[in-house]
Amino acid sequence: MIGIIDYGMGNLKSVSNALTFLGAEHFISDKYDELLKAHKLILPGVGAFKDAIDLIRVKSFDKLLIDAKDKDKPILGICLGMQLMFESSNEFGNHIGLGLLKGKINKFDIDLKIPHMGWNELNIHKEAPLFTGLPEHSYVYFVHSYHLETDEDVVSATTYYGKEIQVAAQQGNIFALQFHPEKSGDIGLMILKNFIEIDN
């Protein structure tokens, strides 16, 4: 059973629709006790980093996620949810994240339109479980103005936007995706299916 964490930001329906389409049992909840029972967690989200992390702390979802990591429960962060998994972000000030993975979220520093919005090609760097079976040229859908920067060996994919941008990370059962798999057509559905099929 997959629990989608509702901390009050962003549209969770799309992720839920995709899981339903794939036949995966899941529920959306904003309650700590209910989410505790999930075997896997998804942290979605659209919006500002600070608002999101504040809401997460109010509901003790930071504790929920850190405990889940310790218990080796698979966790998938999408878009803002992905960014929240890292140590900090400089979006309107400097804010501390969940620290499930090592790295920082920085604003785009390139001479191109911001946000980076639309379909871009994934350059897969390592055999990450979520990317099993993907074709050679896989395009996914992005909408973001901030991006990951890490020196750790956790980056599983990059994409090119002015420079190589780190857009997916994985360490153990922690999965972080900057793009929206729930809006990335068949490729996105394959990635979500891979998450659903992870044994735990």
Binding site: N11, K13, S14, N17, A18, T20, F21, V46, G47, L112, K113, I114, P115, H116, M117, G118, W119, N120, E121, H137, Y139, Y141, V143, Y160, Y161, E182, K183, S184, G185, G188, L189
Partner: protein, 253 residues
């Protein structure tokens, strides 16, 4: 490389696709959900539903269509037509749309752009601009209400303003070119695209595959939209993308 997007636009009236869509092998060519599914298969990058329903009692129909579409296709979905308030935005977004397009409502009350982008994020606020060349001024005027009213507003001034207020994207229609099949207005598109730092979707005038290339290269469009050309299968999206790819334009294939 970020791909240039190809976007089919469906006019929906009281829950049915109007102007007719002539896809082969489509059980119900009037059902927006079926048509959206077919476009998803043919590698459309996004889908736009434009609700042209006149009466407000039929407005709920579009919400239901968005719901059913979002359950079955997993690419970005934009909905426009008749959206006037933040509450309208909420309804459409909760139904599963990713972006909401506003036109006259933004002109009448520009603060709607600000309110909606603060509430739901810039990424879901698309401002549609209908522009027509003014010979006297040697520039383009903005029109509202489906091109009926000249707002005495310069297109560049308005484009810069909507970006400042928080719009995430501009859907730019050339009224001079719309329906002519003589190509997009690349001068207009280039002018707007270079004046703002948000993506610009070119609309109006597509007739050949080269027109799409010109809008992207000469017009500097980030995305290109067409309606009847796709609906009547005059140009297949997949073939169009193969052509653009052969012209060294990055597209999702």
């Amino acid at each position: 490389m970020l791909c240039k997007r190809i976007i089919p636009c469906l006019d929906v009236d009281k829950g049915r696709v109007v102007k007719g869509v002539q896809f082969i092998d489509l059980i119900d060519a009037g059902d927006p959900v079926e048509v959206a599914k077919a476009y998803n298969k043919s590698m459309a990058d996004e889908i736009v539903f434009l609700d042209i329903t006149a009466s407000s009692e039929n407005r709920e129909t579009i919400v239901d269509i968005v719901k059913r579409t979002a359950e079955q296709i997993f690419i970005p979905l934009t909905v426009g037509g008749g959206i006037r308030t933040v509450e309208d935005f909420r309804k459409i977004l909760l139904a599963g749309a990713d972006k909401v397009s506003i036109n006259s409502a933004a002109i009448n009350r520009p603060s709607l752009i600000d309110e909606a982008s603060r509430k739901f994020g810039s990424q879901c606020v698309v401002v549609a601009i209908d522009a027509k060349y003014n010979n006297k001024r040697k520039s383009w005027d903005v029109y509202s209400h489906g091109g009926r009213n000249n707002m005495d507003l310069d297109v560049i001034e308005w484009a810069v303003e909507v970006e400042r207020l928080g719009a995430g994207e501009i859907l730019l229609t050339s009224m001079d070119k719309d329906g002519t099949k003589s190509g997009y207005d690349n001068q207009l598109t280039k002018l707007v695209s270079e004046s703002v730092n948000i993506p610009v979707i070119a609309s109006g005038g597509a007739g050949t595959m080269k027109h799409f290339k010109d809008a992207i290269i000469d017009g500097k469009a980030d995305a290109v939209l067409a309606a009847s050309l796709f609906h009547f299968n005059e140009i297949e999206i997949k073939k169009l993308k193969e052509y653009l790819n052969s012209e060294n334009i990055s597209v999702r294939l």
